[in-house]
Amino acid sequence: MARKMLIDGKLGNPNGEEIHYDFDLFVIGAGSGGVRASRFSAQYGAKVGICELPFHPISSEVIGGVGGTCVIRGCVPKKILVYGASFGPELQDARSYGWELNERIDFDWKKLLQKKTEEIVRLTGIYKRLLANAGVKLFEGEGRVVGPNEVEVVQLDGTKISYSAKNILIATGSRAQRVAIPGQELAITSDEALSLEELPKRAVVFGAGYIAVEFASIWRGMGATVDLFFRKELPLRGFDDEMRAVVARNLEGRGIKLHPTTNLTELVRTENGIKVCTDHGEELMADVVLFATGRAPNTKRLNLEAVGVELDKIGAVKVDEYSRTNLPTVWAIGDVTNRMNLTPVALMEGSCFAKTVFGGEPTKPDHTNVPCAVFCIPPLSVVGLSEEQAIEQANGDILVFTSTFNAMKNTISGRQEKTFMKLVVDAETDKVLGASMCGPDAPEIMQGIAIALKCGATKAQFDSTVGIHPSAAEEFVTMRSITRRIAAGKPKTNL
């Protein structure tokens, strides 16, 4: 079926009659992607309705909140906790700079949690206002797709209301998954971790992704004993191997105990806490066990199979390059499509969707050279190809430039923690294919680098830029010696 461009929200009918729809666009899910798509579509003149589950910091199949994961139980509260945790080690370092602090500096977890909750409530309110200001109609309740042009919203009191819509956008995001081991009900996911009543004294984190590593850092920074278990040799699979090793080293340097190539097999409640059993036969006690073992798209209750929308094997909605499903009037963006699960990517997909469907300008979201950050302490940030990806994809030789140093701030505090920075360059074209950094301020530093990289900047262009001094970032423009040159056609390793 040919794709029709919609102008003024009116779809021409072969008989010459116009079909009336309640909405030009109905969005299920008011998270990062959904809110962006709604507002921008409304700005193009579309009549937009959106529904979202009632608000609570801890999500469920029937609980969510305007703002979505990012605002309520993701990026924002995470960053707040990282800030809170970062102060811990900072205060220790202050002493070498001449500050006299009491031996005892207390940390009030409850106060931090309370302020965090105030902030996410404030932000959810702002998102509601953004929607209202854009003229988008917000419904509270659970939405599902009933037909190619019909959605049904189950309200809080159980009543169901149907709405017709020329276009339906699914933006229901994803939720944390648990591991099916005995005692799994004793474990928590990141939702609960962001709303714990008490700061754990002993924390066990199971998982190797950014969520696992971030929470390990958060709790360690606040003084907890932290054991991090993961199945591979190194955490953060998919990232540059050298950077993964740097992160692991830094986590250990901060006192987090790493347990690579280990699976958890059972959790048992005891008087002394939760007994955690591993496949190496170890046992340890914990106050909190966090499963950070992956997130799954929220598609179970949307009625998609019945309507004929194709899902992939993990339940993500399948979409084309324009974010359209196999049904021409049904679209999907954000984590529910499991492309790149980052807020700014969901925003991009939402903007492109609005432009395509209502702006008269078909626009594909560009998923190449998207920068991202892991907010462990110290953080990691990357853009472009990892060294392994570059070797695999390149026709010719790859040049690797690296810089390792102890940040100036640490020289006085005596903290032994190396910052590591890396550029991966195509030897033939001199283009910078990838940049990565693990060290303080890496995420802030990488943003500007990402622009240059995305636009195909060469190493020579980097080098012709004068440095800012003294900074860590200036290392990116002063890497003169090649650390290693990898000839084309070298096989990759699999850690």
């Binding site: 990012c70 990026c75 960053k79 707040i80 102060f87 811990g88 900072e90 202050a94 070498s96 700079y97 001449g98 500050w99 006299e100 602090l101 009491n102 500096i105 207390d106 940390f107 009030d108 302020k115 965090k116 902030e119 980052l342 807020t343 700014p344 991009m348 998207v370 950050a373 140093f405 100036m408 701030k409 020289t411 006085i412 301020d441 995420p443 802030e444 530093i445 943003q447 500007g448 990402a450 622009i451 240059a452 995305k454 636009c455 900047a457 262009q461 012709s464 830029t465 004068v466 440095g467 800012i468 001094h469 900074s471 860590a472 970032a473 200036e474 423009v477 002063t478 003169r480 010696s481």
Partner: protein, 469 residues
């Protein structure tokens, strides 16, 4: 025969290997004959360490909003800081001395003076050289007014025997502003005296306004439109500063950060025919060659852009020109720089005022927001960001930011600006979330669009009026 220029060539390599940049300088003060490394001993490095130390007081305040509790107000011990700072500088000096040695450079300590186009006199001993490079840098300038002997400059301020209780800082440039932040953060009572209405003349006007406001919010008092006339020491040892507007008493210290002058006295330059500018800076061409073909000059002594990385660039270009058979001009377009005030500033490219003058039609995007950290700390910290784009070509002409982490943020953006990238390129780049930096790739609506009228050029004030500035 000592080839003094070879000294710099290998030096350039050594500089690249060592992480921190520096330029060697033969100190020419009367009676002092020692080699110092400006950046390491008396500039960038100790400055930054003191900035780190002084930021903690703000961080203690912030941390309270994040649940941290102090049984007692943290207090600062100045002598611990200075001792640790000096130990670090000693360590770095040791490293650089051996780097020089390993590079095969012959270091001669003494007071150098040029005798003729190919001869240098160091403490009476003569050395012939194919090329001579002058890179003696600059020194703080203190106006000759009554009581100036009681004044400390930036050199001395980095090594005071005790922390100032109440300090007057005269000057409005980056050094004054940085030291104001340092002493304020270390709990001194800080008063800044400037001749202008705002600090940081030459910077983007909105940045000047913003950083001034933020400094006031942190407790620094700024006395504007005041020129220093005299310093008076009273019987109890305290100092008073007399300006055109009156006298303020009770200072434990008075610091002048009133400019720096090139160190060109007593180098023998005039007799050998090296041309100087009015302020004493050595005149050089685009290749850093002076009016005498065998004599060259780089860095602050030439008063081009007085920044360490620029001195590095000039030195590196010169080494290529002389010894790699590759004449190379240092490139001064889009040189980024930072001011480590609190909050700090990062900038690259043109100010709004310069952009209007040079390009006429520009679009200005600004953001002024409370960062996430401040919403919890409750402190009045804000971040200001400005992006200036050419309306015709969409090229990003200038970026100015003031707020936490600005210097680190601006570096990557400087690569983009130097490469001539457009606002559209910026907008096509996905943000990193949550950061402050992502704001610069998500500015969608111009705050103001400035256009010259097609028939005639507007005056600056007409322009600004139309723009609502």
């Amino acid at each position: 025969n000592v080839n003094i220029i070879e000294f710099l060539g290998k030096w350039g390599q050594a500089i690249a290997r060592a992480r921190c940049a520096f330029a060697i300088m033969l100190h020419l003060n009367e009676g002092r004959f020692w080699a110092t490394w400006r950046c390491v001993l008396r500039g960038c490095v100790p400055k930054k360490l003191l900035v780190y130390a002084s930021k903690y007081s703000h961080e203690f305040e912030e941390s309270c909003g994040f649940g941290w509790k102090y049984a007692a107000e943290p207090e600062h011990d100045w002598s611990t800081l200075i001792a640790n700072k000096n130990a670090e500088i000693q360590r770095l000096t040791g490293i650089y001395k051996s780097t020089l040695k390993n590079a095969g450079v012959e270091l001669i300590e003494g007071r150098g003076k040029i005798v003729d186009p190919h001869t240098v006199d160091v403490d009476g001993k003569l050395y012939s050289a194919k090329n001579i490079l002058i890179s003696v840098g600059g020194r703080p300038f203190i106006p000759d007014i009554p009581g100036s002997e009681y004044v400390v400059d930036s050199d001395a301020a980095l090594d005071l025997p005790s922390k100032p209780k109440k300090i007057a800082i005269v000057g409005g440039g980056y050094i004054a502003v940085e030291f104001a932040g340092i002493f304020n953060g270390l709990q001194s009572d800080v008063h800044v005296f400037i001749r202008q209405k705002k600090v940081l003349r030459g910077f983007d006007e909105e940045i000047r306004d913003f950083v001034g406001e933020q400094m006031l919010l942190r407790g620094i008092e700024i006395h504007t439109e005041q020129s220093p006339q005299a310093i008076i020491k009273s019987s109890d040892g305290s100092l008073s500063l007399k300006t055109n507007k009156g006298t303020i008493d009770g200072f434990s210290h008075i610091m002048f950060a009133t400019g720096r002058k090139p160190n060109t006295k007593n180098l023998g330059l005039e007799s050998v025919g090296v041309k100087l500018k009015e302020n004493g800076a050595i005149e050089v061409d685009e290749y850093s060659q002076t009016s005498v073909p065998s004599i060259w000059a780089v860095g602050d002594v030439t008063d081009r852009i007085n920044l360490t990385p620029v001195a590095l660039m000039e030195g590196g270009a010169l080494a290529k020109t002389l010894f790699a058979n590759k004449p190379t001009k240092p490139e001064y377009r889009a040189v980024p720089s930072a001011v480590f005030s609190q909050p700090p500033i990062g900038q690259v490219g043109l100010t709004e005022e310069q952009a209007i003058k040079e390009y006429g039609d520009v679009d200005v995007y600004t953001a002024n927001f409370r960062p996430l950290k401040a919403t919890l700390s409750g402190l009045p910290d804000r971040i200001f960001m400005k992006l200036i784009a050419c309306a015709k070509t969409d090229k990003v002409l200038g970026l100015h930011i003031c707020g936490e982490d600005s210097p680190e943020i601006i570096q990557g953006f400087a690569v983009a600006v130097k490469a001539g990238l457009t606002k559209a390129d910026f907008d096509a780049t996905v943000g990193i979330h949550p950061t402050a930096a992502e704001e610069l790739v998500t500015m969608r609506t111009p705050t103001r669009k400035l256009r010259r009228t097609p028939s005639e050029g507007k005056t600056d004030s007409e322009f600004k009026a139309a723009a609502g500035v």
